[in-house]
Symmetry: C2
Subunit: 237 residues, 2 copies
DNA sequence: ATAATAAACGTAAAAAATACATTTATTATA
DNA sequence: TATAATAAATGTATTTTTTACGTTTATTAT
């Protein structure tokens, strides 16, 4: 509290960068993927990297992340949450730089493929990621761990699926996140008992002759449940 | 990704501060308390404030928080976790300043009372806090919400108690955090079934004639449980 | 010896999680 | 047009966990 003058260091004579880095998840036909790109600036130019940016004067961390997401995917209104900061003194060999990681869940069929290409970005399966620059691999590991936890208590899995989806699709999403097979009878029972989903008359026949009914996430019901303090627990089996 | 030159702004010509602010919880005879102090620098000098500091060149966010905690309480090895960043452009009228909040759980009988006094710090009951400067009240609200969630899945409540504690004390801690009375029979059953506590032969007679047995948190057992993927769920009643 | 006080304890009922197998709707093809 | 193939949809019995609830016990002060 006392020696504030010591901190004059940060008053402009030295360089301190603050950035955001986005861990962008997508779910593509049963596979959890991550959007990464080829870094365009030194140091480590050409290395695989998360998508990030320095925070600009006129924006906060959230704003910076939204801007980056928009620039790279063309999407607004993405589900996004701050994860944590990475501030090791020498995490970046180029400069003292603190990074705030954010994870984002996007509906993979909605992003702008042209933009992604233009930006040199690619989707990699999460369990087949290349080495990333700096501490970005650690960011991904942390994000995955957090996602696994979060998804058990909050219905955010839907953010990775189209507006309507089948129960088998939803189940395969959880199986992918948890890296674990689930029993379809118990899964359906549990998920439907939460009274969050609305069954539609339409069927998706892309993966079976019989076709599977499409469901929609019912935000109103969800909000009602939240008010009463609600746990979105997942099954053990 | 492109217009990186726009970010030259942060290369030293303008001022950007990065700080940590600590939400320090203590548990004092059934009451959850927070350590706050009188701000010593402009702007808002004299206002009640969380305890914080700018991050110094040679330390990361975690290091800064540990340093602050040490300065103010005299304690090392405090349970501490980063919460989130507060980066609104005009959150601080004095300068552009991003703050990383950390919450800390301390054993309230262990802190250095002399130091705390010297630093102008005081303990307030969480439900009777004064208005704090900047967005510090929001930080406290966020920290409390997080604590409520966290404490249901991780055995961190112990960090707020002495090394040995009675079950009634532990129960009252959870009751205070959840703002909710719990049934002592169910509480004991649940907490003991987790096989995390070690009963000692000693009794604490400070609050009853009969006295209550003292227990200790068994870290080894806890670690064993963690490996097998374990949920520290709390009761509904 | 008695009263007062908080600690400790057990059990029955209800709810939730788990394990497990068959039927159904549809399309392709024989 | 009957049959085979395929994934979707469904039910139930068992086990585990959670919940509700009242009495006994150890100790101190009177």
């Amino acid at each position: 509290m006392k020696n504030l003058e010591k901190n004059k260091w940060y008053s402009g004579r030295e360089k301190l960068f603050v950035a955001v880095d986005c861990v962008i998840f997508g779910f593509d036909k049963g596979v959890l993927k991550l959007l990464v790109f080829k870094r365009e600036v030194e140091p480590l130019k050409g290395g695989w990297s998360l998508i990030g940016s320095f925070i600009r004067p006129e924006e906060d961390a959230d704003g910076a992340a939204k801007r980056v997401l928009k620039e790279i995917t063309g999407l607004d209104h993405i589900y996004m949450e701050e994860l944590k900061t990475y501030s090791h003194v020498d995490r970046d060999p180029g400069a003292r730089c603190i990074s705030i990681s954010q994870y984002a869940l996007i509906k993979i069929e909605e992003y702008n493929k042209e933009l992604v290409k233009q930006n040199g970005a690619f989707w990699f399966a999460v369990d087949n990621l290349p080495d990333l620059v700096l501490d970005h691999n650690k960011m991904v590991i942390d994000a995955l761990e957090y996602l696994q936890h979060k998804v058990q208590f909050f219905p955010i899995g839907f953010e990775l699926l189209s507006n309507s989806f089948t129960l088998p699709q939803l189940q395969s999403l959880y199986e992918e996140i948890f890296q674990k097979k689930l029993d379809s009878r118990n899964f359906r029972k549990k998920i439907l008992s939460l009274d969050l989903l609305e069954k539609t008359a339409a069927k998706d026949k892309s993966s079976s002759k019989k076709g599977a009914y499409l469901y929609k996430f019912d935000l109103k019901k969800y909000n009602r449940l939240q008010e009463n303090g609600f746990n979105f627990l997942m099954l053990k089996k």
